[in-house]
Point group: C3
Chain length 430, copies 3
């Protein structure tokens, strides 16, 4: 049993039933070669802990790369009491209890004992299987670089997704172009060869069972159509490492993005849009803890895209909590816009509860993707999904069962669609 | 009894009392010549059902104009199970039960039976009266084109409102100018004659008991004052069908809008502002299901208007759910700004509940207009008002009675102001 | 006992304990020479009452400066029934009961009796002490003009804060420059002497035990760094009363603001940022009731500041309710950004409850400053803090105790940090 369960009996009944279902996780950053944590440092290395501890006063040097793993865990542990009010901390205690059988408070006094229990370096694959099984995972989507060979793991369990930030946002970097050439065998020198190379990437990903193309986009990106004609020169300049003016960068981003959408259409792949982050806003932050957002963003910037690619499904996540209402409206109108999970700064129960209630009242139940873990290590999938399951159970009990007279079965049908059957169907492969 | 009632006893007591009050509906799109639905197709034709079903996968052709009404209903019914989680669907079941005595689930198997029951083509006026009476309607405001003759119905029940979108946003279209000439007898050729024609419209509407002027405005419209001097040339160009630059369009919109506000001041008519929609964002959508918004909008753009026309009451509805907090603040400060109901994408219980709590805590109780139906057919007034009454009852029970120790009578006094007495007073005619 | 207490038993237990704690109020507008109200007019003169009554129909002349105090109170009292739904009204009844032993409804019939009871002109200092003691105040921060002599009161109780709006936003006014010269003895004529004068202000404030520098900033202010080189000419022109172009105003604001931040760094003083208001939006409003905001504002505009001054703590208040989510995110990432209280248009229980839940789930508990009174008269500190304590108690009972299985003690530890210990530590002096 998770350590946090609904106290309301109707919600508890729904929650208990949900915990028996497998988990279908349509977005994570799991490394399929080493999915579960090999030690506690890999758990505590999740940026939520390092950034929150740093925000609460921990110097970032204490968790720097060159610190030994156990010492890093010890260092961090001295700051955990400052953040033990957070939902992120609750995931940690649930991991300690569920996977390590550890029930004590986690602090400087207990960190060594917990570290010892979490040491799995010699039993890695068995431990991966153990965590997978305890989590009752059915599928876990990955975030793969475009030049990932996608080899060496069971892609029916760890499902590839083509992550394309580098292609759209960093095409002007020589390293991107080099990687693209190497991974496709195409001499990428202009718009035509770029388009060809991108096509090859999609072919390879598709053949390996990839379920989606995905990208995270800054708030100032507006995916208006760039005609090949207008984009051809800026793209050639970028591919040759030449200096670019701001409007050329804009043109390149739009053109590459459009090429990706065309490939999604051709290969019938959903295109996950993760809208909002600005990278490196807090430059001195810990690794993974530097990005923020500007909340002045609107899905209206995406309307040309949604209209043009009516056959592409766009599962959309927005970053700023106050943008949630717009996603409800756009999902309610556009058949190809699907609200997907709760991302990062919006992945807080208070925000989820407020928005989920609206989604369940206003968006067709068959087109909602309830949640994804966004996890880097397998241990996080279960506690994060349990956080969502609790909110979902409470929302359905309160608003469905008590509020609208739904039966328990009717509430569970909605829950199952949102949390399991919709992602299965929307991301069906092959 | 409505099928959805509060389960909390205190809220139930308030709700039950509210259901005994008449309904004063200060905004709808009812056709006074045929207010109630003549058949189920007219109920299911409400854009909420067609757009949600389309969003959930129904091809728009299935509900196209040239499909026979019963077939349209059948077609739509096959998709209703996909949207039966929505609040809009709950209105449908309440209509079926209240007005057609139909308690089954509504789907492809039962649609014909329900269609038969809802067939009222031969008893139209009697049915109108029946629905009016069951709804306990006191007044239902209309949305009248400026060239509506306003004849053929009882305007004390179906109260005219002058809708002015076309004048402000489409003055450059020859059809608008033609309609204006025909309906006023004025040869509208320049600013002066335009002003004169608009004055005639207001006279006519006023003489027919019109209660308000109303307009919906896109997010990029900022009603700053346009001096007649600056507007005279662009308006003349528009009236003669000449090409216009973007800044001329802006000038025309501002100038015509200002003329309308002046007429509102002169005729002591409230000016309903419905702020936010962008028309045709999803061009391939079903009829009525193509408009969305850009949430980057602020009431600060309206401050010159609110200041200048201090004697005009502006009942304001905003479209984007996240804009609600600003309306609370502007209503709290400006005597002539009145928060009015919950519009369209904000008309979802989750959003209403969150915002209504704030309105009831921060805006004088005497200047809140709780709700309007926005309905196209009379049958929707009751279930939509019941949705609001439930949220209002729950809010007052939770925040007023339990939270602040109010008596039931005190809570009911507030409810009655908000839902009945304020709209009666603010929209008093004559 | 306050008249509004939680009904939920767990919340009530937390609330009762909190009412035993002293109040540490890190922001007010109290006048230390006359902190408590000398009569009821000074209570009712709080802009919340005059602006809400005016918004509800009271002509502003009825509370103009030249009206005699008792008559002003009588005039206002006739409108109180229109705003008795508001949280602000509930503060008034709590004051009447707690400080004046008055339990009746407050209206035109009872206003004279209440006025008589509240008459304290002859017992001022004793009454100040009485209110201080009943409120159980530990410290109350002030808002001091930069040229305040800071003399004549106990600065360990009434703690000075350097308010700097005039320096940043009104440097171009001769009166500002004059005051600056007079209060520092520096002949302020250019960037160097301005910088020197500002340094002297900080020295003086610091020596008098000032706890913070504070400023309120309009939504269009973006504190990017202005190099002295670029600012030197515009600042010289401003100091000599010369005409300034808009971009020169921008440069001056940025440069002066940067100088202030540098002084905060040097003197280890927190810099309170109160972001959002636009002054005089409703020009015809009552005193204190003319300011509003444009909700299109983002903390991203502040990222250079937060990065550059990593050693300065920035307690941040935002004005627009929908901006709250961004502050949660920025406080979660930036060690030096601290979410502080609920300001003005956001200081409504509905908004506090929604946001506080998120803060408690996502921001380290050691860096939250729960609340400040923003009061002008001492009597308001207690009812305003009680409003917050109630929301805090309910949030912790619901989300902490029931939602996450916290003990009462654990919930109280969090409460005590947020409401008392964090402000004590963050604003520690000397």
């Amino acid at each position: 049993m998770p350590n946090i369960v609904p106290t309301d009996p109707a919600a508890r009944e729904l929650f208990d039933e949900m915990t028996r279902w497998p988990i279908f996780d349509p977005h994570s950053h799991i490394n399929p070669h080493s999915p579960a944590a090999r030690n506690l440092d890999e758990v505590l290395g999740y940026h939520y802990y390092t950034e929150l501890a740093h925000s609460a006063g921990m110097p970032s040097e204490l968790v720097a790369e060159d610190v030994a793993p156990r010492q890093r865990a010890r260092n961090l542990s001295r700051y955990l009491d400052r953040i033990d009010n957070t939902v992120q901390y609750s995931w940690l205690t649930e991991i300690a209890r569920t996977f390590y059988g550890f029930d004590d408070r986690i602090n400087a006094d207990t960190i060594d004992a917990l570290y010892d229990r979490a040491e799995k370096s010699e039993t890695g694959p068995a431990w991966d299987a153990n965590v997978w099984s305890k989590t009752n995972l059915e599928a876990c989507f990955l975030t793969n670089d475009f030049d990932d060979t996608l080899e060496g793991w069971d892609t029916s369990k760890y499902v590839p997704c083509l992550r394309t930030d580098d292609l759209v946002l960093k095409l002007h970097l020589p390293s991107t172009v080099e990687r693209l050439k190497n991974s496709t065998g195409i001499d990428v020198v202009d718009y035509a060869s770029l388009s060809q190379a991108i096509g090859i990437l999609f072919e390879r990903f598709k053949s390996k069972g990839a379920a989606a193309c995905a990208i995270s986009l800054p708030p100032d990106f507006a995916p208006f159509r760039a005609t090949p004609k207008a984009a051809v020169t800026p793209i050639r300049r970028a591919l040759h490492g030449m200096d670019l003016r701001p409007e050329e960068h804009t043109m390149i981003r739009r053109a590459v993005f459009w090429l990706l959408a065309e490939q999604c259409a051709e290969h019938k792949m959903p295109f996950d849009l993760m809208i909002g982050p600005i990278r490196g806003v807090y430059a001195a932050g810990v690794s993974g803890g530097r990005d923020l957002f500007d909340r002045r963003v609107s899905l209206h910037d995406y309307h040309e895209l949604f209209n043009h690619f009516s056959n592409v499904t766009f599962p959309v996540s927005t970053l700023s909590p106050d943008a949630a209402g717009e996603l409800v409206a756009y999902s309610w109108i556009f058949p190809n816009v699907v609200p997907m999970g709760y991302w990062w700064y919006s992945n807080i129960p208070a925000y989820i509860a407020a928005d989920l209630k609206a989604r369940l009242q206003a968006v067709p139940k068959t087109k909602q993707v309830g949640y994804y873990s966004d996890a880097y290590k397998l241990e996080f999938v279960l506690p994060k999904f349990n956080t969502f399951r609790k909110v979902l159970a409470e929302t359905l009990a309160d608003d469905g069962i008590r509020g609208r007279g739904w039966s328990v079965d009717r509430a569970l049908d909605v829950a199952k669609l949102v949390i399991l059957e919709n992602p299965r169907r929307l991301f069906a492969r092959g």
